[in-house]
């Protein structure tokens, strides 16, 4: 039996390499987020944002851009028979869940590396809150990656593939978005970041990550049976 760590590394490397070579998801996600910022600029008719409005625009954009990547997360597995290969391989199936969560985390981090600086450039007058924002992004990405991987793996085997991910994922991440925007809002207020209830919201994010990480890990086995 191949060790889980080797399998994890192999799947993750495979995913990242194929993304690097085909560039199927990432450029689309980044482009989508920039265009969405432009739409918000005119939709809200604001040239600068702060506080709750800034947090809302940032998270709505990141979430919808993430949905693009989540939609495509398992497409290669399905079309090229990767699911069968994983079923045949003598490895623990939860490894696929872990590796896919890790791959999605890398995608989300890459997306944010592009989208957040552009957001700051477009809208923020005082980028002082961006430092602590990294912590919020990291914790929210973890939860988004766990739920996204779970939903994506189910949606890809259904008839209404691209429809199911936004349909099921959006209500599922509402608590995550409440906590993420709650933590982001005081960071982006005019006149420098404040830390009103910052720790509490980080704890909610951590709890969400923990619960859905465990749920995903526990049920993923059943999604691969055939």
């Amino acid at each position: 039996m191949t060790s889980s760590r080797t399998a994890f590394a192999a799947i993750l490397t495979k995913d990242l390499r194929s993304e690097l070579r085909t560039l199927q998801s990432l450029p689309a996600m980044a482009l989508f987020s920039v265009t969405t910022f432009v739409i918000f600029r005119f939709g809200l008719d604001r040239t600068s944002l702060s506080g709750s409005l800034a947090a809302g625009v940032l998270w709505a954009t990141l979430l919808f851009a993430a949905v693009l990547g989540i939609n495509r997360l398992f497409v290669a597995e399905r079309e090229e028979g990767g699911f069968d290969a994983i079923r045949l391989a003598p490895i623990d199936r939860s490894v696929l869940f872990g590796a896919k969560v890790a791959a999605l985390l890398v995608y989300l981090a890459a997306l944010e590396l592009v989208a957040v600086p552009i957001f700051a450039l477009f809208f923020l007058q005082d980028p002082g809150g961006l430092g602590p924002l990294v912590l919020v992004l990291l914790l929210a990405d973890l939860g988004l990656a766990a739920t996204g991987t779970l939903i994506s793996s189910m949606a890809v085997n259904s008839r209404a593939r691209d429809l199911l991910v936004p349909l099921v994922l959006l209500p599922l991440v509402v608590p995550l978005m409440i906590a993420a925007t709650g933590a982001t809002e005081p960071l982006l207020v005019l006149g420098g970041p404040s830390y009103h209830r910052f720790g509490t919201w980080l704890m909610v994010l951590g709890l969400y990550d923990l619960i859905f990480g465990l749920v995903g890990y526990a049920v993923f086995d059943f999604l691969l049976e055939d």
């Binding site: 189910m154 099921v168 055939d226």
Partner: protein
């Protein structure tokens, strides 16, 4: 096989509902602050509690399905969620009526319980398109169970997050816990809760019975059709 005991259960439910409603209208004291409209509380809150518990129960049945691989539990889980969604519609409607009567608006974003319930309802409303987008029956049952478990874990987490988003800004308008209720109201409320729970159980049993009966009819019809060949729906082969 699901129909056993359905009749006494239905009678008990109707009796309990009748008793509870008469208690609500003839025994429970009028609320000093809100007057008559407060009586919708005896309908709204038990409905909401039953629906939420029903969602969780659906998740527990789903765990049983994944553990035993017995399709029976998937049917239980599906019907539990189905009836709870119907209860959820009733909760949202009675909640809106109550909100209009006591606050003057059909919808109030400041009431965390109302908002949490809407989010939970939206989550479970996606159960149907999700379930029926999967064609293979075994896979459908398995994925639906995974959905039910995930959504079951989501219910308490969501309530916590929504409550936290508002609790410091807006005080809780209602004490939904029984601590704030005077004795007579509490008795009536508990009666209503039992009645609603009974109604939920009866409806679940009813739906399961109907489902298993229509499944059996379908199977019998197929068995009858098979020897006759073709897709005709003759009950007996023709005698020449």
């Amino acid at each position: 096989m699901y129909g056993k005991g359905l009749k006494p259960l239905s009678i008990a439910t109707v009796a309990m509902l009748a008793v509870s409603l008469s208690l609500v209208f003839f025994y429970a004291p009028l609320d000093g602050d809100q007057g008559f409209i407060q009586k919708i509380f005896y309908l709204h809150v038990p409905l909401a509690m039953t629906a939420l518990v029903g969602f969780i129960v659906g998740g527990v049945f789903a765990i049983a399905h994944l553990r035993t691989d017995d399709r029976k539990w998937d049917a239980y889980s599906y019907v539990s969620i189905h009836i709870s969604v119907i209860f959820g519609v009733a909760v949202l409607i009675t909640g809106a009526i109550w909100a209009k009567a006591s606050w003057g608006h059909w919808w109030v974003w400041n009431e965390p319980t109302l908002v949490s319930f809407l989010i939970v309802f939206l989550m479970y409303a996606t159960y149907y398109p999700f379930r029926y987008a999967i064609e293979d029956r075994d896979r459908q049952a398995r994925y639906a169970s995974v959905f039910a478990i995930t959504a079951g874990a989501f219910v308490p987490l969501n309530f916590m997050a929504v409550r936290m988003a508002q609790s410091l800004v807006h005080p809780r308008v209602f004490a939904t816990s029984n601590g704030g209720l005077p004795g007579e109201m509490l008795v009536v409320f508990l009666c209503c809760l039992v009645a609603m729970a009974l109604l939920w159980v009866t409806l679940v049993k009813f739906e399961l019975t109907a489902k298993s009966a229509s499944g059996q009819v379908k199977r019998l019809r197929r068995a009858l059709d098979a020897p006759a060949g073709g897709g005709s729906s003759r009950i007996a082969p023709e005698v020449s």
